[in-house]
Amino acid sequence: MARQPMDLLQGTLDVLILRTLTWGPMHGYAVTRWIRERTDGTLDIEDAPLYKALHRLEHAGAVSAEWGVSENNRRARYYKLTARGRQQLREEESAWRRYAAAVFRVLEPA
């Protein structure tokens, strides 16, 4: 790969996905589009790891999956945040904020 933008920190995908799903149930394609648009290409994420992360979250019980019908009338697998997922998002989000704040404190001139 020519461009090598920022490495994704462990768990970053999870928090992004969980956050995305707070908007409501979505199928995998919608999740990947949403994240791509939001990060504006800064984080160069392939779709495969996103799907892997989605299924991992399903395994962990943070999201649940159900087949539904997409906007253009096709069968799609919809993911929904579970109570446990919301809890996980809250925890990871605050951890991220603390982490980012700490990094910024170092980076910003005093």
Binding site: H27, G28, Y29, T32, R33, E46, D47, A48, P49, Y51, K52, H55, R56, E58, H59, W67, S70, N72, R74, R75, A76, R77
Partner: protein
Amino acid sequence: MRRLFQFTRRSRGRIRADVDDELRFHIEARTEALVAAGADPATARERAVREFGDVEDARRYLNDLDRHTESARRRRDYMGEFRQDLVYALRTLRSAPAFTVTAIATLALGIGANTAIFSVVDGVLLRPLPFPHPGQLVRVWSANQTANALQSGVSNLDLDDWRAQKRNVADVGGWFYQQDGGSGIDLTGAGEPERLGAVFFTPGFFGALGMVPEAGRLPREDEMVRGGNDKVVVLSHRFWVRQFGAQRAAVNTTITLNGAPYQVVGVMPASFLFPAEPVDVYVPYSTIPDDAIPHLRMVRVLEAVARVKDGKTIADAQAELDVIAKRLAAQYPENAVYDGVTIAPLRDAITGKVETGLYVLLGAVAFVLLMACVNVASLLLARGAVREREIAIRAALGAGRGRIVRQLLTESMVLSLAGGVMGVAIAKVGVTLLLKLAAGQLPRATEVRLDAPVLAFALGLSVLTGLLFGLVPALRVSGTPLQGTLKEGGRGTVGGGQRLRNALVIAEVALAVVLVVGAGLMTRSFVALMNVDPGFRPDHLVAVNFTISTARQHNYQLYYHTVIDRVRTLPGVLSAGAVKNAPFRGSGEPHGFVPPGMALGPNDQPPTAVFMHISDGYFRTIGATMREGREFTAGENDHTPITVVVNETLAKRYFPAGNAVGSVLNQGQDFAPQIVGVVNDIHQTSMDEPVRPTVYVNNMQNSRVKTTLVVRTRADPLTMARQIREAIWSIDKDQTITSIFTFDDVVGEALARPRLLTVLLGMFGVVGLLLGALGIYGLLAYLVNQRQREIGVRIALGANTANVLRMIVGRGVGLAGAGVLIGLAGAYATTRFLRGVLFGVAPTDPLTFGGVAALLVAVAALASWLPARRAAGVDPVVALRYD
């Protein structure tokens, strides 16, 4: 009610298809989006795939992951459902306390009885003997084919030769031990003189058994032979604790045995209870002087044990010892007929006698448990009828049949496990009682305990039981068609379930028949045994057993008779005499003899008889009857002609003309005593064996040191024991007393094992009868309840009380009849396993079979009577208004 199924289950194929679908959807959706944005389709698709990354890798990864997710979910669902079922089961059971308590108690009894008996079977029969590699241990006997004496004792000289020539045998050793102090040794110089139980062992004894001492060492080879430093002793653990307070310092001290100093060289561990529990000391056989037991090849008094070498079989050992025995037979004339050996696994030799009895008991308790299962199954069925509505509702709410069966089985499991827990408590008490009842009758009784294998057995049994009694009702109840039940309005259905309940009652009666037939046979056998005339009157007879010291040899006979005469003068003593071994406390000595007129060829073996050493007045004292002639008199001794008394069996067999008295028995070696009397047959070894031809020898003419003084008293015989003992001590204050017992006890002990078996089988029979009666009663009571309306209609239409009674009782008796027929067939097939423990009654005794059949039908009639009475009392008005 919560949702029973939270998710539909996904198969592997389903998961694969789902992953494929999901990925395809993604690629297609992306491609479409790009096309919509103006790209041409081929480029768009290529870009969608590139953006996705490694599709194949993702596919594999998602497949694997989803499979894990699915199985984790299933586990979680299962546990969740199980918890639900459990809570629900507990609630249901709590709401029906009468049913729950009955079921648990029935199961607890069944499982408890099985666990108790199994723990005994496990300890006595199944657990390996407490020796290293016990499978290699065998008992060895000298075999005399000619006289069909295949399990003869072994001579210590033969043993030495076996040992010197062995190759397939790792080691072989012998021992001399007789219970009740028969092989005792006197301990003096340490408090009161005491008769110790002693085992006299030959070299190879400890080696073959493979035991190492707990403290000290085993005797060296040179300490176990004549002329060596053989005054050494090994202590049993219990004697070490008793005498030395388990002090290690006991080793290398000296104790005085039979008046001589013996060095304590070692102490055996507590687990070493061989050949019997009450052994105090192990002393080299070489210390027994020739005047007590001559060390001759023809003296075969030792029991022998051998260990087969690693990699060799018992057959190898047998073949080798046979060859050696044959060689010795050719070499020594006195060995000519002992030209082989008999070998049996040590385990069989120790537990063989009780094996059949224990397995019979285990079989009987298995029947009891089966009956308990059938009983609880019918209870569950009856409840199932009541619960059909509840179950139909659950089914209507979406629970599948499998799910309902699982829920019902959870209920059964709760019952059976609760029964199992209580059963173990019952077993704990039961085993204690059982061992108390069986005291002295059970080899290896000390090894019986409720340990992990036994608890595992109880657990397994509980689970099995739960499945057994739960599955049929669960399948039946869950299979009830929906609509009928819901429409029925809660009265439950009578139809199909009834047939199953009938079948259960028939099964129960059949099982009860088998149990009761077993108990009946055992009882009849025991009665037959009780009716055996022992040949003496055991009441008011006390025996004092002692051994006259070999130091008294010069005035032995004087001492012997002085003691008897002194006891005879005691007030309260009616008569007194002596015998070497009291009945059932040891046998006589087998010897050959030649009756007059019998011509023996040079290679013929003479017939053998049991020779018993007795005093004058012995027969009168024990209450035996002289059929002819007289018994020994006080005047007969060394200086008068040698005379003998024979028993009826011998007289009839060898003097059919009735001319025994006055004839001469030729015993060879110038020993040709005259028969002066014929006494009635006296059972000496056991009640259930025929009395052997016996010759009674006057102890004043041919002496033995072991003496059992037998005293007939006017009052309670045991109260005289003290005076008798003091009378003996007034003659010799150092005389040790081995044991004191009454003849009533002796006879009781001789019957103890069959009595125990009879009592236990009888108990199981009664339980079987009760359970059977309960089954019939329960079924009919239920039936009467269900059919109140129908009965009401019948009565309203003119049926009288007698009709109704006949109908209900007839029903019960009919079912019982079917059960009895099946049960009799079952009993006919199974009672042959009792053959080994029955006496005087055939395993297919028609009287027992007929009696049991009649008994069960009668019990069935009785059990039907109560519900029938209720049915007859139905008020048609009330019954018809019921709904």
